[in-house]
């Protein structure tokens, strides 16, 4: 719930009315390196929004930004912290452009593109919007996006000028008892390619339908970037999660062991899976950076797309 003075959020402690001064007081205590500015992102939570409401979200967000910047200037302790300006505007091109241009006029350290979260289809519809927004932003400041974390979506956004992403995708994969196994080595040696291909064929054959898994109250679908360690076929699989992975889990344990931990509801399952999923995901980003440096992003994108369901 948002008004001109505050953004209200509901927490374990009840309703918290976040005014600019309260928000900045928290930043003073936390002393972060970067912080995302308070903004009105309610538009992305609602289905049908009027242009009037979208316009308001842009205006309010700019007002919050100006107030936060003023308070930052007055605070010695926040001099080292960098404010990230938030770009709103829903699905209205005109408002998105206005938000981008106006935010870019302020002395922010970077930009967060809000309102692009959703599912793969909703992102696809917003890709043109995304390109237009980043085109308005200065080249020398980082662009962050919230709510986008899947490998295929990440690449689409990178192509359109985004630099930083949240890593909740590997976390979600862990929560549903799965391990990331997608390949991102777009220049593997021929032997490895053959082995990987044979491996992937098997995985794809067995994935006739995408299964819905209920984890912690939310329905999340297993993607084709991962394997489900709860499946019976891993009971006697003494391979590591991913051959060649140097994470603690792959160096020390087998798929069979992880399967056992999941079946017996042991806490260690999540610990080991999280270690692997982060390492795998960060490895992917390393390859993205390499691909960009050597102008091979297209190959990487093709490899990822082949594996996307």
């Amino acid at each position: 719930m948002v008004c001109w003075q505050s953004v209200s959020v509901w927490s374990v402690a009840g309703r918290v009315e976040m005014t600019v001064s309260k928000f900045m007081a928290i930043q003073k205590a936390l002393q972060p390196d970067w912080f995302q500015c308070l903004s009105d992102g309610e538009v992305s939570c609602k289905e049908a929004t009027s242009i009037k409401r979208v316009r308001k979200s842009v205006d309010r967000s700019l007002l919050f930004l100006d107030n936060c910047l003023r308070l930052q200037e007055e605070s010695e302790v926040l001099q080292k912290s960098v404010i990230i300006g938030v770009i709103e505007g829903g699905d209205v091109m005109e408002e998105r452009l206005r938000s981008a241009r106006e935010t870019a006029k302020r002395p922010v350290g970077g930009f967060l593109l809000d309102g692009f979260q959703g599912n793969p289809t909703t992102l696809e519809a917003r890709l043109r919007l995304l390109s237009s927004v980043t085109a308005e932003l200065p080249e020398d400041k980082p662009r962050l996006i919230s709510g986008v974390s899947r490998p295929d979506e990440v690449l689409e956004c990178i192509e359109r000028g985004v630099d930083l992403f949240e890593s909740f995708f590997p976390y979600q994969v862990t929560e549903r008892g799965c391990a990331l196994t997608f390949s991102f080595d777009y220049q593997p040696n021929p032997e490895e390619t053959l082995l990987q291909q044979n491996g992937t064929q098997e995985e794809i054959k067995c994935m006739d339908q995408i299964k819905k898994i209920e984890t912690t109250g939310c329905n999340q679908e297993i993607t084709s970037f991962e394997i489900n360690l709860k499946e019976k076929k891993y009971q006697e699989d003494f391979n590591p999660l991913v051959r060649g992975c140097s994470c603690y889990c792959c160096k020390n344990h087998t798929r069979a062991y992880i399967h056992h931990l999941l079946v017996t509801n042991e806490l260690l399952a999540g610990v080991l899976l999280m270690m692997h999923n982060f390492e795998h995901y960060f490895g992917f980003f390393h390859y993205i950076r390499e691909a960009l440096k050597s102008d091979k992003l297209a190959q990487l994108k093709e490899l990822i797309h082949r594996q996307a369901s």
Partner: protein
């Protein structure tokens, strides 16, 4: 079933214990266990990793804490994932990737803890599985067979294969366990049956050279029954003895007397394993009474309830009083949790929606138990164990004289006074 020891069992079992020091007043001993996966200093506390994992912490973390022996459970592992799979995985050591020693319990205790799902006959224990409703019979032979199979190099066909992994280093006999609160003829029946089952376990044991089979003394809280059990079981030349059937709901006064009786009749040159103990005070007292090995789920379980073990007792870190306490759990503790995190941070974590705090507390509580045993051992070696006991009780109860009566009595019985 014949109760007499067989010729095979009278042959010399491996002497796995070397005594390094003995307290001149009490029965406390410091020693070394020489096991297939390395030496273990005693007295020792063995953390319990029931299902081939130590609740939430990695084997690397456990190793870094100095743990050199921990427990797995035959009943649970026998059901999931099952002995065949574990064999294929290079034994229990290979399956969980633990390079040090393992002790597997026989499944006997589950007869008490899962009593509604079990039925005891001379043949064995019939369990109804809580997972799929299937019935399994856990006989002495089956229990030993499972524990043998947790060793990768064992199989009936490949008896001549060079020994690779040696499986759990200490295995326990299947005993007929009754709750310590049970009285009457059932206790006597269970005691005699345990002796018969010991002989059956010894006969069924295929790997005496690689896995050490321990007997478990029963007899409940009846001194005569216990004495009989001790006399009979010590005729069997097993590498070690456990004191079982205690640490249930019995009074501490009865508990210590049975422990003292047991240690007084057990051979000095073999390890004494007191099962299911426990709390810090109990550990110190029972070392004084002559025990060498202990296991208990308490430290790991209490961690998962947000309780941190300290020399003065425990800290319930969920409580508001720790909200702004920026010191470590214990400034003297060398564990990673105390090196890196404050009580305030752990308090906040305990009120969040993730399990991080539980892992940190599990690490600390295991460290506490291991450090306590290490300090006990050093004091025995340095010939100052009675002073150590007094200091320990002082820290725990404010004054040594405020220590619980049962502990005072138990210590007095072996020559340690607290006043």
């Amino acid at each position: 079933m014949a109760g007499a020891a067989t010729q095979a069992s009278l042959e010399s079992a491996p002497r796995i214990m070397r005594l390094v020091a003995e307290c001149s007043r009490s029965r406390a001993r410091a020693g070394e266990l020489w096991l297939p996966h390395g030496t273990v200093a005693t007295p020792v506390f063995m953390p319990v990793g029931t299902q081939a994992t130590m609740k939430g912490i990695t084997t690397e973390q456990l190793d870094a804490l100095g743990c050199r022996i921990c427990l797995g459970n035959t009943y649970h592992l026998g059901l999931r994932p099952g002995p065949e799979l574990i064999q294929k995985a290079n034994g229990l050591h290979g399956f969980m990737n633990w390079p040090h020693n393992l002790l597997t319990d026989s499944g006997g205790f589950q007869m008490v803890s899962l009593v509604s799902l079990s039925e005891v006959t001379e043949e064995g224990v019939r369990f109804r599985s809580p997972y799929d409703g299937n019935e399994t019979l856990l006989s002495p032979e089956k229990s030993v067979q499972i524990q043998n199979a947790l060793d990768s190099s064992y199989s009936p066909v490949s008896a001549f294969q060079a020994a690779g992994n040696t499986g759990s280093d200490i295995i326990m006999q299947l005993d007929d366990v009754v709750s310590s609160t049970v009285t009457g003829p059932r206790v006597e029946e269970a005691m005699y049956r345990s002796i018969r089952w010991l002989d059956r376990c010894i006969a069924a044991h295929q790997r005496p050279d690689k896995q050490n089979l321990f007997a478990i003394i029963q007899g409940g809280l009846d001194a005569d029954l216990r004495a009989t059990c001790l006399e009979e079981m010590t005729k069997r030349d097993v590498p070690g003895f456990a004191i079982g059937g205690l640490s249930g709901g019995e009074s501490k006064s009865q508990f210590w007397r049975m422990v003292a009786l047991s240690t007084s009749r057990l051979p000095k040159d073999k390890p004494r394993y007191l099962m299911g103990v426990g709390y810090a005070t109990d550990l110190v007292v029972c070392v004084a009474l002559g025990c060498d090995m202990f296991d208990c789920v308490f430290p790991t379980r209490t961690a998962r309830f947000g309780s941190a073990l300290v020399p003065t007792g425990n800290l319930q870190l969920r409580k508001k009083v720790f909200e702004k306490d920026f010191g470590p759990i214990d400034p003297e503790c060398t564990c990673p949790t105390c090196q890196k995190h404050s009580r305030a941070f752990l308090h906040a974590l305990l009120h969040s929606d993730n399990t991080a705090a539980l892992h940190h507390l599990t690490v600390h509580n295991i460290a506490y138990q291991l450090q306590l045993m290490s300090a006990v051992r050093t004091s025995i070696v340095e010939k100052r164990f009675p002073d150590f006991v007094r200091d320990f009780m002082g820290a725990m109860y404010g004054d040594p004289t405020l220590c619980p009566t049962w502990a005072t009595d138990a210590l007095a019985s072996v020559g340690i006074t607290l006043g």
